[in-house]
């Protein structure tokens, strides 16, 4: 590592490490995982051309930008440089820029094969002001013969209606744990990362359906400890260890409040804040196997506790109160 930093010119092979997120970003649509239906349509578009105006919306780390870029590459190939205008939130995208830069680009003449269009990629389009979006409206329509738009955003509701109306909306949802795990396994094999399966499981847990976060966490763990196991992952990500939390839940389900409290106290003493703990609690309970009624009550109580914590009452008293309520909910449910 140190040598790589000292002379970056000889950055070849192992010395120079790209972020894995970039290194393993899929360049073909076929390599994109998850969201099969959306991706399958994109494949057809890449093959046939005539891309409609598209809005990609979905939570972060689900492959929106990746699929836009891959689509543009597959559609335009060697013409990518001159036929694609990419603007993201770091660029100036006020009304003036839309009226000048984007319009200029739309008017630019590029020789492209039949069925291919220039593409304007607007990443993080929800951060554009509504004025700028309004200004985009006419440009989109007038130049639709030669230029198509692809917008990426987290919530399509932040795109103004006239723009939504001019586009087809492609929804991306969180990736399944299976998809993320598969991809992690691939990366781990190519990078020769030593790991145990539980370690990868932990990475998947911390990522919560976000591929970017999963890869970042994996890389952070690897470069920090050179071994991916559960403890290292949670050290890097600094989340309460779910195993602890699972234990706490198990104790409450068993009606054993003393042990549950001991576990909680231990977590709290480790320095985790109440909102950290409650976040992990929620994620664990969501996937914990228990009777439907009990789960419902647990979720409800966690929700209320979270509400109080979000209001600023993040004391251990709240958390222990929560545990007591969980035990009571369980007592309410069982037969005498």
């Amino acid at each position: 590592m140190a040598s790589a930093a000292s002379n970056p010119t000889t950055c070849s092979g192992k010395d120079y490490e790209l972020p894995w997120v970039e290194k393993y970003r899929p360049h073909k649509i076929a390599d994109i995982v998850g969201n099969e239906e959306a991706v399958s349509r994109l494949k057809v578009i890449a093959k046939d051309g005539n891309m409609p105006n598209l809005i990609f919306s979905g939570p972060p780390g689900t492959g929106k930008t990746t699929s836009i870029l891959a689509l543009a590459h597959e559609l335009l190939g060697a013409n990518f440089k001159e036929a694609v205008l990419e603007l993201n939130a770091s660029d100036d995208r006020g009304i003036d820029v839309v009226r000048s830069k984007i319009k200029m680009f739309a008017q630019k003449k590029v020789t492209l094969p039949l069925g291919r269009h220039k593409i304007i990629l607007l990443d993080e389009a929800d951060s554009m002001t509504s004025g700028a979006q309004q200004a985009l409206r006419r440009t989109m329509e007038i130049y639709s013969n030669t230029t198509r738009f692809a917008l990426a955003c987290n919530t399509s509701a932040k795109i103004i209606e006239p723009i939504q109306s001019r586009c087809a909306i492609v929804r991306f949802s969180r990736l399944s744990d299976r998809d993320i795990l598969d991809r992690l396994l691939k990366v781990v094999q190519t990078e020769n990362v030593p790991y145990v399966p539980e370690g990868l499981e932990a990475v998947v847990f911390t990522a919560d359906g976000d591929m970017r976060q999963a890869l970042n966490n994996l890389q952070a763990t690897y470069s920090g400890f050179h071994f991916v196991n559960q403890d290292n992952v949670f050290k890097v990500c600094d989340q309460p260890h779910p195993l602890h939390v699972i234990n706490i839940i198990r104790h409450t389900v068993g009606g054993n409040i003393d042990d549950a409290y001991a576990g909680l106290k231990q977590l709290y003493d480790l320095g985790y804040s109440a909102s950290d703990i409650i976040t992990t609690l929620f994620r664990v309970v969501k996937n914990y196997e228990m009777p439907e009624f009990v789960k419902l009550e647990y979720l409800k109580e966690i929700g209320f506790a979270h509400m109080r914590i979000a209001d600023g009452v993040g004391s251990i008293l709240q958390l222990s109160g929560l545990l007591a309520k969980l035990c009571m909910a369980r007592d309410k449910a069982i037969t005498v």
Binding site: D96, A135, I142, S144, T279, M290, E292, L299, A310, A333
Partner: protein, 647 residues
């Protein structure tokens, strides 16, 4: 001068896009000419105008296969339009009046105002109808390419000569200049054209020159802040009174979400009021009906020879919310998958293939019930649907259907919890295992926020519970209220005074929402022990949304009125006072005026009041405007109880 000209040139040029590729060579021919002409005369704005000839001409060589369907199937005949015939007739009547009896000097109604939600065919109606009028031509206001602020600063700082050539002009100023130019020089660049022309196609041109101009303003500048809105309104008001030739103004009316919508919707209402008070004729377009949308979609499907099941088409038509453009876009995207059925290598294609087969299979026994069932199935099939229409998505309906229908595995034993937990639940709390994905997964696939999911469930849950299950409903409602409580806390904590974007930054808020979502979904699933018989039940969209929408509209309307009162009386009053005291006064006044049946509504008085001072006293000073906007801001923030206390 130089600024104004290109604006009109672009316009006619823009008209060229709307023509079918096989349009007469006349329009294409003019382009190189226009380019050079503009290039001579003007400055920065001319560059794009010159360039835009190029892609257009290229488009004439393109086959129609590579066009977006929205362009490809743009209505060309009146019969193609999906807009209500009455509205079309209204617009046509206006055009006939203005265009064919133009010698009569009437100044009052030169402006036509088209208001409507996005995608309801406002522009389409205008362009189709105008193409039917021989002697008229449509011109459009096209905002010139602005100088970038950074460039401007750069030029100022470096002191280069370029600065004097391209000064920075604000949008509203550009627009005002344009309006000035239009009113001052009524005959647009046409005579100009005919003089310079001369060489190649002059004999063809002669006929065109006689055409009468109709000005179309679609891209009104967006302004923020009370002060500039009023400035713009004032300018538009004068314009509407003084304009010499027919003008059509299109105002897209949309109520956006919290952070984007407010400013624009007040702006829209202000502009509409302005024009109305200046005697413009206003025609409001409604969202296009689902039936009309479906008709158009079916026509396109036949033309494209693609095989999307009719159920899907009608679903798209119904869920697009009257936005035909979006419906067509959706359809195009849907067909992208279905066209590749033959090679069916993709899972999406398989689904479609499957569906069309089934359809054919059940086609013979055409009992309604079967059809409905297959419709149900279809919804289930769309389980991973990634495409959707604007507000209500297919996947949302699917997720709702799953939660409401409450399918469970009945054969298996009830979960007693013995195996994993070690205790036995009370009999009445035991449930069969769910026959579906985890509710959390369902919600995340529904692509919606917990709040609207809750609204939908609340609206529809009654239908899905059997007659005997009234207790179930009460249990479900308990959980709904809990979920609502959780959501409200999120709103209160995040949407404080100025942190509008806080809601998507705080991670805890996300958890709160997730909890609320799963509590409401699981609550219904748990509570509903008497699900009604499996049958086709339509899912309604929550009426609370409409109430909210109406309330917002009403609020905005009240604000404008209130503003008028403040200006007129120079006193401060809140909207409580307005509703409680001023509204009755208006009504009384209306009676006093002898106009029976309340023909003079409070609204009109309000708008009269709004413009009274600006006419008689001139525009009031900036300070006052600031005060008022502040005041309104405060009004926004303080809830009504506080106001009462204050008073």
């Amino acid at each position: 001068m130089g600024k104004r000209k290109p604006a009109f040139v672009v316009v006619s040029d823009d008209e060229g896009t709307d023509e079918p590729p096989s349009s007469e060579p006349l329009i294409t021919e003019t382009k190189p000419f226009l380019t050079s002409q503009v290039g001579d005369s003007s400055l920065s704005c001319s560059i794009p105008t010159g360039k835009c000839g190029l892609p257009r001409r290229q488009s004439f060589t393109q086959s129609s296969d590579v066009q977006a369907w929205v362009d490809k199937y743009r209505p060309r005949e009146v019969s193609d339009l999906a807009v209500h015939a009455k509205k079309i007739a209204e617009v046509r009547e206006w055009m006939v009046n203005k265009l064919q009896r133009c010698d009569k000097p009437d100044h009052c109604g030169k402006v036509l105002l088209l208001v409507g939600p996005t995608g309801c065919g406002k522009t389409a109606v205008i362009s189709v109808l105008m193409s039917k009028f021989e002697g008229a031509e449509l011109c459009e206001w096209d905002p010139p390419v602005p100088t970038l602020w950074n460039e401007h600063l750069h030029h100022v700082n470096t002191g280069s000569e370029g600065y004097y050539d391209i000064p920075y002009v604000s949008k509203i100023q550009q627009f005002t200049e344009f309006l000035d130019g239009v009113t001052r020089y009524p005959l647009l660049p046409l005579p100009h054209e005919s003089q310079d022309k001369g060489n190649s196609t002059s004999f063809l041109r002669k006929t065109v020159v006689e055409k009468q101009k109709v000005l179309l303003i679609d891209d009104l500048p967006i302004v923020h802040g009370r002060e500039s809105i009023l400035k713009l309104c004032h300018r538009l008001y004068n314009f509407a009174l003084s304009v010499q030739f027919p003008t059509i103004v299109i105002v897209t009316d949309f109520l956006g979400n919290e952070e984007h919508g407010q400013g624009i919707s007040t702006l829209t209402t202000d502009i509409v009021h302005t024009f109305e008070s200046a005697g413009a004729k206003k025609i409001t377009f409604n969202p296009i009906t689902a039936i009309a949308v479906r008709k158009v979609l079916n026509r396109i499907m036949i033309a494209e020879k693609c095989t999307v099941s009719p159920e899907l088409v009608s679903f798209v038509a119904e869920s697009c919310g009257g936005d035909i453009r979006h419906a067509i876009n959706c359809l195009q995207f849907l067909c992208i998958g279905s066209k590749s059925i033959s090679c069916s290598w993709d899972p999406g294609g398989d689904i479609f293939l499957d569906k069309s087969k089934r359809k054919r299979g059940t086609g013979d026994n055409s009992s309604v019930k079967r059809k409905k069932l297959s419709q149900c199935k279809l919804l289930e099939k769309k389980c991973k649907s990634s495409i959707d229409c604007r507000d209500s998505s297919l996947s949302l309906f699917h997720a709702l259907g799953k939660v409401l229908h409450n399918k469970r595995i009945t054969e298996a034993d009830k979960i007693s919890g013995k195996n994993s937990i070690g205790f036995i639940l009370k009999e009445e709390l035991q449930r069969h295992p769910l026959n579906m994905e985890e509710p959390e997964t369902l919600i995340s696939q529904a692509h919606t926020d917990a709040a609207s999911f809750l609204c939908f469930l609340h609206e529809n849950v009654l239908e899905f519970v059997d007659e005997e299950g009234i207790e179930d409903v009460s249990v479900a409602l308990t959980y709904f209220s809990d979920a609502d409580c959780l959501l409200k806390s999120r709103k209160r904590s995040s949407s404080s005074f100025f942190s509008v974007h806080a809601s998507d930054e705080i991670d805890p808020a996300h958890i709160g929402e997730a909890v609320a979502g799963s509590v409401c979904a699981r609550g219904v699933l748990f509570a509903n022990t008497h699900p009604s018989k499996p049958r086709w039940l339509s899912i309604r969209s929550p009426s609370i949304r409409q109430v909210d929408r109406l309330m917002n509209e009403k609020k905005i309307e009240n604000y404008t009125k209130l503003l008028g009162v403040i200006q007129a009386s120079h006193t401060m009053c809140t909207h409580v006072v307005q509703v409680a005291e001023l509204e009755p006064l208006y009504k009384q006044l209306a009676y006093r005026k002898g106009q029976s049946n309340l023909t003079l509504t409070s609204k009109e008085i309000g708008s009269d009041l709004l413009f009274f001072p600006s006419q008689s006293l001139g525009i009031f000073s900036d300070m006052e405007a600031m005060d008022i906007s502040n005041e309104m801001h405060v009004d926004d923030m303080i809830s009504s109880e506080d106001e009462i206390e204050e008073w």
